[in-house]
């Protein structure tokens, strides 16, 4: 089980989602992806999309206005 990290700080809206999508395709089932973002929309946008794809997902806020989204690839 590998762990990947994606730095999406200061990126505007669809970029975090697109980067996550690209990265997820390269990963194996069971791998973990940590996505760092400070875009307020991403925690809804990315989380909803990942859920819809059927992966496990959750997020925490690490400082004011900055989040880490955890994704576990399922399929």
């Amino acid at each position: 089980m590998a762990e990947f990290r994606l730095d999406c700080l200061y990126e505007a809206c669809p970029i975090p989602l697109l980067k996550a999508h690209k990265k997820l395709q390269q990963m194996k089932i069971g791998d973990l992806l940590i996505l760092e973002t400070d875009h307020n929309c991403s925690i809804v946008n990315v989380v909803d999309w990942v859920k819809k794809q059927g992966h496990h997902v959750d997020y925490i806020e690490i400082t004011e206005g900055q989040w880490e989204i955890f994704i576990e690839k399922q399929k």
């Binding site: 200061y10 400070d38 307020n40 925690i43 806020e61 004011e64 206005g65 900055q66």
Partner: protein, 173 residues
């Protein structure tokens, strides 16, 4: 604390947002006789700045012929209430983000990002003058006012978004 978190911390559903935005637009129309628009105010600020540096935008064809701006003939551009509305939206968002303790200055990442932001902004701004309104005045308020241009705008905005997505995936990712 639980209620506070529910209202001010956790994101609302899109559906809640939609119902509230529609309600506010109806309220605005009911109380002032005006619908929600964004670009109108921004053009007024721009025209005011041009006036300050010595140009005469009030003599432009757009202002003399169409008077699509919400001020009376003798008033200054700053009297446009839509300027106030735009400032209020910024302050409202700031209040909401501070109450959630999620405010953070987000700096510009790269020159490329800056360049695309400038290009995108100018394209949007120019587009609004051709099509009488942005995504609010030309779409969110235009379709409920039964104007055909709202529907045409919506369809071609989808085409535009498709073109934009292609550019985005190609150059920005």
């Amino acid at each position: 604390m639980k209620i506070y978190n529910k209202i001010f911390k956790n994101p609302w559903t899109y559906r809640t947002g939609a119902v509230l935005l529609a309600t506010f637009n109806i309220l605005l129309f009911y109380t002032t006789g005006r619908m929600w628009r964004v670009t109108n105010g921004i053009v007024s600020i721009g025209a005011f700045i041009l006036e300050k540096i010595g140009l005469e935008p009030s003599k432009w064809y757009y202002f003399t012929t169409y008077r699509n701006i919400d001020i009376k003939t003798s008033e200054s551009f700053l009297a446009n209430p839509y300027i106030l509305l735009n400032l209020a939206i910024i302050l409202g968002a700031l209040i909401s983000v501070l109450l959630a303790s999620e405010f953070k200055w987000k700096k510009i990442k790269s020159k490329k990002q800056l360049g695309f932001a400038l290009l995108g902004g100018v394209m949007m701004g120019y587009g609004t003058r051709l099509s009488f309104g942005c995504n609010i005045g030309g779409y969110f308020s235009a379709i409920p006012s039964f104007s055909l241009h709202g529907w045409v705008f919506a369809f071609f905005m989808l085409v535009g978004a498709w073109v934009g997505s292609k550019i985005l995936v190609r150059y920005l990712l």
